[in-house]
């Protein structure tokens, strides 16, 4: 309890102005910084410093932990033009980790949003709303590692083990969903959609509950059908939560790794690699730290729009309040 903090402050005066007043001790001017210091030091050493280091490493040929040889933009050029595991444009349609991740962006985000929104809207109409929402949401708590094992079992090519092949066994030969390049990405995407839809549903459902019932009733009285109520009233009022969920799903899909590592290790033959998987494989399996760093920087660049969005949203919120 310092004497400066105990000084009586006139209540009418806003506290920020009072605390900022010149002539007060150093301690009160930097007291807040003292509270933030432990966090800022940890962030500086273990987040900001490594990120800067990695950005520098991305311009070098690093192996192990050393900067070996300055390459300029060579690493970036390599993964965009000369690395068939990352982007193979020699045939059509192109393949590689970048294309796979693009499939993830479109299908994962689309399916999670579509199913989450439908579930949120439909669940409000039944009496077992809570139960069905819990069932859909629970996989959110499960580790991607466990989700991977759960779906390895579902997709097992042995019809005596995998429920999916047992279901189609009457009219189709067993399919190795994870063993062929044509299906492997879709199979893993479905598993991850199963795990993430609950998030979209819960956020959108909370937003739906926030729509005043008077508005919906007024529309019904005016003779609006359920579909036009959904399109003209619910959807516009859900635009902010929808964008929030989309951003969250986008972040998730750019960093997706665990489930792929468990289900296929990027295989067969690299067919299910994504950006984060390439970063891991190049750095730790191929020992190309510099090249891996350039892929990490690429991921960081993909996050920059989200970063700007977050900062902007926060700023406009502060102006509004």
């Amino acid at each position: 309890m310092s004497s400066s903090e105990a000084l009586p402050t006139p209540i009418s005066e806003p506290p920020t102005a009072a605390d900022d007043a010149p002539g007060r001790g150093l301690k009160s001017r930097f007291g807040g910084l003292l509270f933030a210091a432990p966090a800022l030091i940890v962030l500086g050493i273990f987040l900001v410093y490594p990120a800067v280091w990695t950005i520098r490493l991305a311009f070098y040929r690093g192996s192990g932990f050393r900067f070996e040889h300055f390459l300029g933009l060579e690493n970036f050029k390599e993964f965009l033009t000369r690395d068939p595991n990352f982007l193979d444009r020699s045939h059509f349609p192109p393949t590689g980790a970048l294309i796979n991740n693009l499939k993830w962006v479109v299908l994962y985000i689309g399916l999670c949003l579509g199913m989450g929104l439908s579930l949120a809207v439909l669940a409000t109409r039944v009496r077992y709303e809570r139960a069905i929402k819990s069932v859909i949401f629970v996989p959110m708590a499960i580790a991607a590692t466990a989700v991977g094992i759960i779906w390895l079992l579902v997709y097992s090519p042995n019809a005596k083990i995998g429920v999916l092949n047992a279901l189609i066994s009457g009219f189709h030969d067993p399919v190795s969903f994870l063993g062929q390049p044509s299906t492997v990405n879709y199979a893993i995407i479905v598993a991850y959609v199963w795990a993430s839809t609950g998030f979209a549903m819960v956020v959108l459902s909370a937003a739906l509950k926030g729509i005043p019932t008077e508005i919906l009733e007024a529309a019904r009285v005016d003779g609006a059908g359920e579909w036009s109520i959904f399109r003209r009233i619910m959807l516009p009022m859900l635009s902010l939560p929808l964008s929030v969920v989309t951003v969250w799903l986008f972040i998730n899909v750019i960093k997706v790794f665990d489930i792929i590592y468990v289900m296929t290790s990027g295989g067969p033959n690299g067919a299910s690699r994504v950006i984060a998987y390439s970063m891991f494989a190049e750095t730790f399996m191929n020992g190309r730290a510099g090249y891996g760093a350039s892929i990490a920087v690429f991921m960081l660049l993909l996050m920059v729009p989200v970063m700007i969005l977050n900062v902007r949203r926060f700023r406009s919120e502060r102006v509004a309040t």
Binding site: M1, F35, P38, I45, W53, L57, I149, L153, V311
Partner: protein, 294 residues
Amino acid sequence: MAAIEAPTLAQPQTLAGRLVRAVSRSPVHIALLGLGVIWLVPTLGLALTSIRPKSEILASGWWHIFSGRVTLSNYADVLHAAGMGHAFLNSLYITIPATLLPLTFGALAAFGFAWIPFPFRDTIFLIIVGLMVVPVQTSFVPLLKLFRSWHLNDSFLGIWCAHTAFGLPLAIFLLRNFFITLPKDLIEAARIDGASNLAVFRRIVVPLSVPALASFGIFQFLWVWNDLLMALVFVSKPSLLPMTVQITTLQSTYGVEFHLLSAAAFLLMIVPLVVFFALQRYFVQGLLAGSVKS
């Protein structure tokens, strides 16, 4: 019997009305129940597989469980022989400090950002908001180098630091947004009474913010408990591996052996599921705060 039937007989119109409504809404029910089944079956399959003997898993699908034997021997196997028991403890050793550290540092910093002005406060805060989406991949090589030179790579210290750093931006963001909504009069009154900032933090801010602290705490706990990638990178000593990494080790050692994998995966799921069902409200709040509030 009569007592049960009486109410339905007394309201025949509502019964008919209900029937009409039920039929007209049946597509909704079919869709929802269908999705419910799709969502339950995969987990149910894993649970039932984990309590069947290996020979029966290979002979018939888990949906034949009622015609076979039930056993807990898979759990005994993974807990002891496959090292999942030890890995369970490692997961706890990693997760508890990696939750409490960002919670403590984050709360202290959030209090500073919310209630004590200092130079460049808002600029620093905006930078922290920006740091929320920095991918963990940018830290791997330099942190490994750092941990090696500080001799942290044979202990949990390294992964604690990494998880703390990557959990902090969200902690500060969420908690500051909550702290700022606390009643100003209360905090001002305490200051006038001579309470120091630390006292205000401990006696007023923390007790009033239990829901927000719990929300972030649960979120971070599940995040660290469920993490595979950071543990793969930052924990190298075999005796320190958490459950997530141990499962991938099981996979590479024994191949896809579902009697082991299903039991191991279920052990990994138990703690999050207990946390989820016991503290569901805070859990959902934490997720919502992390997304909708911004």
